[in-house]
């Protein structure tokens, strides 16, 4: 299937990835190629086939409700781009 450039722009916005005007044409055609390749799936009859999310069809084990972590804020914030008073800083969030 053919995907339009404005659709790629919408997807890029959803994924929060900036694509420059000079790249967008190339990106669109590459992704079109990939989507054409995966279109082979559409021909497969999958009626009554349960989707498989996990290759072993295993089930979840549960963790006891215990506190196992201690405060390591200093270690984690030492590698953060911008922190102040224990908070991570980002450009102003407007609601």
């Amino acid at each position: 299937m053919k995907i339009e450039q404005n659709e790629i722009e919408k997807i890029a916005e959803l994924a929060r990835i900036r694509i420059s005007d000079s790249e967008i044409g190339q990106v669109t055609s590459r992704i079109t190629e990939i989507l054409q390749m995966v279109d082979a799936l559409q021909a497969v009859d999958t009626r009554d086939i349960e989707p498989m999310a996990n290759p072993l069809d295993a089930t979840q084990h549960l963790r006891p409700d215990k506190v196992t972590e201690s405060n390591r804020r200093d270690a984690f914030q030492a590698i953060a781009p911008s922190v102040e008073n224990g908070l991570y800083l980002v450009p102003k969030v407007i609601e």
Partner: protein, 488 residues
């Protein structure tokens, strides 16, 4: 001690023929001298490696040393290492030094192994040639004009070039087996859930699996003994019992039924590569194995299925890289939106962005059923094909790749051609099965791999077959000229 297998090093260290510091030093020196040619490492911390080796020597002297004490091991730069940069081959994590170890790293440390360094890889493990690495491609020690394969290309190159006795890799669609084949080494992708994923930077959660890369099946077994086991901190980790993966290496192959999927021996397979695989199968037959024609009818769908599921999972696994808590952050963001889009636009490379976009598309409103859900249904059909085969055969065999290593640059601008490199390896990940690539000869001096696929949790059997093959052949013992400095 140079060019010794892991098994030999374990013995030599225990018998005090040499110390861990000596072994580690010798590898560090080789890396310093040779890696300029291979670019197989992203980070090497000499001081930390020597300190770990000294500690290992003390344990060896004290006589309470666990199995891998003092053996230096290289790790793909996707495993988080406490206090040591973990870049995942990306600008996004170029400055990322995690304050924690992956479970795999913890287990190696607990078993006494020395972290030799962190190996090069395709960015976020997305690639089959190592060319998408932010640090430039690793090169194939057999011929540095060739790619080493990917995404665990650095680990394969380091082992093949004797810059590490063994290494770890991860395999989402062939990323251990394909580079192992290209570099003439042995690489095992265990059953999904056999090895903990905790602390491995996630690519595609339902496909990712870590495994050993070494010269021989025997060495892979030693590493797997350390790596395998349930991890309560990984919900997808299996609590099926592990076994001593070395214990059954010598079992004979009499009556072993090996299925040969006809789809793996069809048009796309290079003729010379096929010849190597055929010889290898004859060798197994001569040891008493029975070759059986089987079919995996949905094989043609593995590439499309994989290229929906893997990008879809990746697209959201990589959402956490947002420039807020760690990693790359763009300069002077004007607002929140700018912070996100520029950090991610600048921090990710081309292939990673492409896959995030494909995955986002496949999950987006109106397309979910046609793409993602459909792919998960076909995935079940693909797994069912294998299960049907395993009703009549013990293992499945075929080529690891359609042909030997290709030259750098030949496919890096053609994503689809690159994706087709993994046509024989993807299905194993989709079905969660264990698979191993074993050196099986050369095509024009380029190594070729034989792939063996087993039932879920039958790693010991795969290693047994691979080991028996290696007892009768010497492909795995060959080394490139560069590495040994002498003719092979």
């Amino acid at each position: 001690m140079n060019n010794s297998s892991v098994a030999q090093l374990v013995k030599g260290l225990r018998e005090r023929q040499y110390s861990s510091v000596e072994v580690t030093r010798s590898y560090l020196d080789r890396i310093a001298a040779m890696d300029v040619h291979y670019n197989s490492y992203i980070s090497v911390d000499e001081a930390a490696a020597i300190a770990a080796a000294e500690a290992a020597d003390k344990r060896l002297a004290a006589g309470d040393a666990p199995p891998l004490t003092g053996v230096p091991i290289a790790h793909k730069d996707i495993f988080c290492t406490d206090g040591m940069r973990t870049s995942c081959g990306s600008r996004m994590l170029d400055n990322f030094v995690p304050p924690y170890d992956a479970t795999v790293i913890q287990r190696f440390k607990a078993d006494g192994a020395v972290v030799l360094g962190k190996t090069n890889m395709d960015e976020f493990a997305m690639g089959s040639s190592n060319e998408s690495s932010f640090y430039g491609p690793a090169r194939n020690p057999w011929n540095t004009e060739l790619v080493p394969g990917g995404s665990s290309g650095g680990s394969a190159a380091a082992v093949a070039g004797w810059l590490a006795p063994a290494a770890t890799g991860t395999d989402t669609g062939g990323s251990i087996r394909q580079p192992a084949a290209f570099c003439g080494i042995t690489g095992l992708k265990p059953t999904y859930g056999r090895v903990s994923r905790l602390g491995i930077v996630a690519f595609a959660s339902s496909l990712d699996q870590a495994g050993p890369m070494a010269h021989s099946a025997e060495d892979c077994a030693l590493l797997l003994n350390t790596m395998a086991g349930h991890d309560p901190r990984d919900s997808t980790s299996s609590n099926a019992a592990t076994e001593d993966y070395s214990s059954r290496l010598g079992d004979d192959l009499d009556g072993l039924r090996i299925g040969l999927p006809r789809e793996y021996f069809s048009d796309g397979l290079d003729a010379a590569t096929r010849q190597c695989v055929d010889y290898a199968l004859q060798e197994l037959e001569s040891q008493g194995a029975i070759l059986v024609d089987v079919s995996l009818p949905h094989s043609a769908l593995t590439v499309p299925t994989y290229y929906i599921i893997a990008p879809a999972e990746a697209s959201t696994n990589l959402s956490r890289f947002d420039g807020v808590r760690y990693g790359y952050r763009c300069d002077d963001p004007v607002d929140l939106h700018d912070l996100y889009t520029r950090t991610r636009g600048e921090g990710f490379g081309e292939e990673v962005k492409r896959r995030i976009l494909v995955g986002t598309y496949a999950l987006s409103a109106g397309y979910y059923d046609a793409y993602y859900k459909k792919a998960q249904q076909v995935r079940r059909l693909i797994k069912q094909d294998f299960m049907n085969c395993f009703d009549s055969v013990d293992i499945i065999a075929g080529p690891t790749t359609p042909g030997p290593a290709f030259a750098l640059g030949t496919k890096s601008n053609d994503p689809i051609a690159m994706y087709l490199e993994d046509v024989y390896t993807l299905a194993v990940n989709l079905a969660g099965l264990p698979g191993i690539s074993v050196p099986a000869g050369f095509v024009e001096d380029k190594p070729v791999g034989l792939q063996l696929i087993g039932r879920h949790f039958h790693e010991a059997q795969l290693l047994n077959v691979a080991h028996r093959f290696q007892q009768a052949t010497d492909w795995h013992l060959r080394s490139p000229d560069f590495a040994t400095g002498e003719q092979h």
